[in-house]
C-alpha cells in the first residue's frame, strides 16, 4: 500500500468541496481522478500530497516517498533546464549533468539544455517538468494534468513512461479530462460522487 486515504474531506475558502473520499493505492496501480471543472481534483491531489493542510481532514498515510507535480512546474524561467533539474526541491536526490541531459533527450529537448526555460514553448516547458519523472526514484507519482500542452508524441511518451513505472512496481495517481488514458489498466475515482 503506497497511499492510504480514509474519510478525507476537502474545504476551500469556507466551502466544503468533497467529503468521505476513500482511496488506497498499491504498487502497480494507475488511478485517474475524474470530475468536472471545479469539482476539486486539484484540491484533493494537493491534499493527498500534503501541500495544503488547511481544510483537509481525514487520514492520509504514505508508505515511502512520492513525487508531486502540480500545475505550477517549479521551474525558474531564467535558469536553463539543466540548472533547474540539477536539484529537486522536494527530495535529497541530486542528478548529474549527464543524467539530466539524458532525461532531456528522452523528452525530446536535446538542444535546449542551456536555454532559459522562460524562452521555451508551453509544451516544451511541460516536458522539462516531466523530465523530473525520469530523475526521481519515488514509487508513487501524483500528477496534476500532466498531459496539458503536450503534443501527440509527448502524450505517447508520457503514457509509456507511466507504464514502465507501474510495471516496475510503482503507482500513479493523475488527473486528466480525457477519459481512460490507460484503458483497462487504470482505475477511476469519480469525484462527482463525493461532491457536497
Amino acid at each position: 500500500m503506497l497511499l492510504q486515504a480514509t474519510q478525507v474531506a476537502i474545504e476551500r475558502g469556507d466551502r466544503r468541496l468533497l467529503s468521505d473520499v476513500d482511496l488506497s493505492v498499491s504498487g502497480g496501480e494507475i488511478w485517474q481522478l475524474v470530475g468536472a471543472n471545479g469539482v476539486g481534483k486539484t484540491s484533493l491531489l494537493r491534499g493527498l500530497a500534503g501541500v495544503a493542510r488547511l481544510g483537509v481532514t481525514g487520514e492520509i498515510r504514505h508508505a515511502g516517498a512520492f513525487l508531486y507535480l502540480g500545475h505550477a512546474s517549479a521551474l525558474k524561467s531564467s535558469l536553463s533546464p539543466v540548472d533547474n533539474l540539477r536539484w529537486h526541491p522536494a527530495s535529497d536526490v541530486t542528478a548529474s549533468v549527464s543524467q539530466i541531459c539524458e532525461a532531456l533527450a528522452a523528452v525530446n529537448l536535446a538542444g535546449y539544455e542551456y536555454r532559459p526555460v522562460g524562452s521555451l514553448s508551453a509544451g516544451q516547458q511541460r516536458r522539462v517538468a516531466l523530465a523530473r519523472l525520469l530523475l526521481s526514484d519515488a514509487p508513487l507519482w501524483l500528477l496534476d494534468e500532466p498531459f496539458t500542452a503536450l503534443d501527440v508524441a509527448g502524450c505517447e511518451w508520457l503514457e509509456a513512461c507511466v507504464h514502465r513505472h507501474v510495471n516496475a512496481g510503482g503507482a500513479t495517481v493523475f488527473t486528466s479530462h480525457q477519459p481512460s488514458r490507460f484503458g483497462p489498466l487504470q482505475q477511476d475515482l469519480d469525484l462527482g460522487r463525493y461532491a457536497v
Binding site: 500530497a49 500534503g50 501541500v51 495544503a52 493542510r53 488547511l54 481544510g55 504514505h62 515511502g64 516517498a65 512520492f66 508531486y68 502540480g70 500545475h71 505550477a72 512546474s73 517549479a74 521551474l75 525558474k76 524561467s77 531564467s78 535558469l79 540548472d83 540539477r86 536539484w87 529537486h88 526541491p89 522536494a90 527530495s91 535529497d92 541530486t94 519515488a138
Partner: protein, 232 residues
C-alpha cells in the same frame, strides 16, 4: 514526504539549499548589483534634496545611510519568496522531509550574502561620499553587517506573510517597517557614537543581540508563514 531514505542531516540540507540558491543568484549579476545601485542612487538624491552644504550633510550622513539601507533591504526582500511561490517551488519545498524553517533560512542566507553583506562591505565608500567622518566608517560597516541580518530576516518574514496575496503591493512594507525601528535606532546610534568619540561597542553589541535573536525567532515564524501562504 516521509521517505525511507536515510534523512540528510539538517546541516547538509542547509548547505545544499544555500549553494543552490547562491548559484542561481550568481547567474544573474543584476540581482547582486541592483541593491547596491539603489543604495548609490538614492544617496545621491539627498544632497539634491537637502542642499549640498557639506557640514550639514556630514552631520546627517549616518542617519541617511542607515535609512537608505533599510529602504534598500525593504525593496530587495519584498520579492524574496514571490517567484518561489508563483512557479511552484515553494510547494515542492514544503513537501521536502525537512522543516521549511531550515530551507528558508538557507535561501535567506544566500540572499543576504549577495545583498546585505555586499552593502555592508561597500558602505564606507558611500559614507565617504556623504562626508561621514573617518572614525565612523568602520562602525558603519560593522553596524550594517549586523543590522542587515535583522533587516533581511524581518523582510523575509514580511515576504512570507504576503506572498500569496494577490494585491500585496506595499502591504509588506507596512508590516515590516515598524519591526525594523529598533535596528535603525541601534545602527544610527552606533555610528553617531563612533563619530562623536563615544563608545559604539555597546550599541553594536545590542545590534548583535538583535541579529542573534532574529536568527532564532524569524526562521520559525517564516516557516509558519510560508505554510499559511501555501494553505490559503
Amino acid at each position: 514526504m516521509p521517505s525511507d531514505q536515510p534523512l540528510l542531516s539538517l546541516r547538509v540540507v542547509f548547505l545544499r539549499q544555500f549553494l543552490r540558491h547562491g548559484r542561481s543568484i550568481m547567474t544573474s549579476p543584476a540581482d547582486v548589483a541592483n541593491p547596491l545601485l539603489f543604495f548609490f542612487m538614492v544617496i545621491t538624491l539627498f544632497p539634491l534634496g537637502l542642499g549640498p552644504d557639506p557640514t550639514r550633510l556630514a552631520a546627517l550622513s549616518h542617519g541617511i545611510l542607515w535609512v537608505v539601507a533599510l529602504l534598500a533591504s525593504l525593496m530587495v526582500s519584498a520579492k524574496l519568496f514571490a517567484s518561489d511561490f508563483e512557479d511552484g517551488s515553494l510547494e515542492q519545498l514544503a513537501l521536502a522531509p525537512y522543516p521549511l524553517a531550515v530551507t528558508a533560512l538557507a535561501e535567506i542566507s544566500a540572499h543576504w550574502l549577495a545583498t546585505g553583506f555586499l552593502l555592508a562591505l561597500l558602505s564606507p565608500l558611500f559614507g565617504v561620499m556623504l562626508g561621514l567622518p573617518d572614525e565612523g566608517l568602520l562602525t558603519l560597516s560593522v553596524s550594517l553587517l549586523l543590522g542587515t541580518v535583522c533587516l533581511t530576516l524581518i523582510g523575509a518574514l514580511g515576504s512570507a506573510l504576503t506572498v500569496s496575496i494577490r494585491r500585496g503591493g506595499l502591504l509588506l512594507s507596512l508590516l515590516i517597517i515598524p519591526l525594523n525601528v529598533p535596528v535603525l535606532i541601534f545602527g544610527t546610534t552606533a555610528v553617531r557614537e563612533a563619530v562623536l568619540g563615544g563608545n559604539p561597542e555597546s550599541w553594536l553589541a545590542l545590534l548583535g543581540g538583535l541579529a542573534l535573536g532574529s536568527l532564532v525567532v524569524a526562521p520559525l515564524a517564516i516557516g509558519a508563514a510560508l505554510r499559511v501562504s501555501l494553505d490559503s
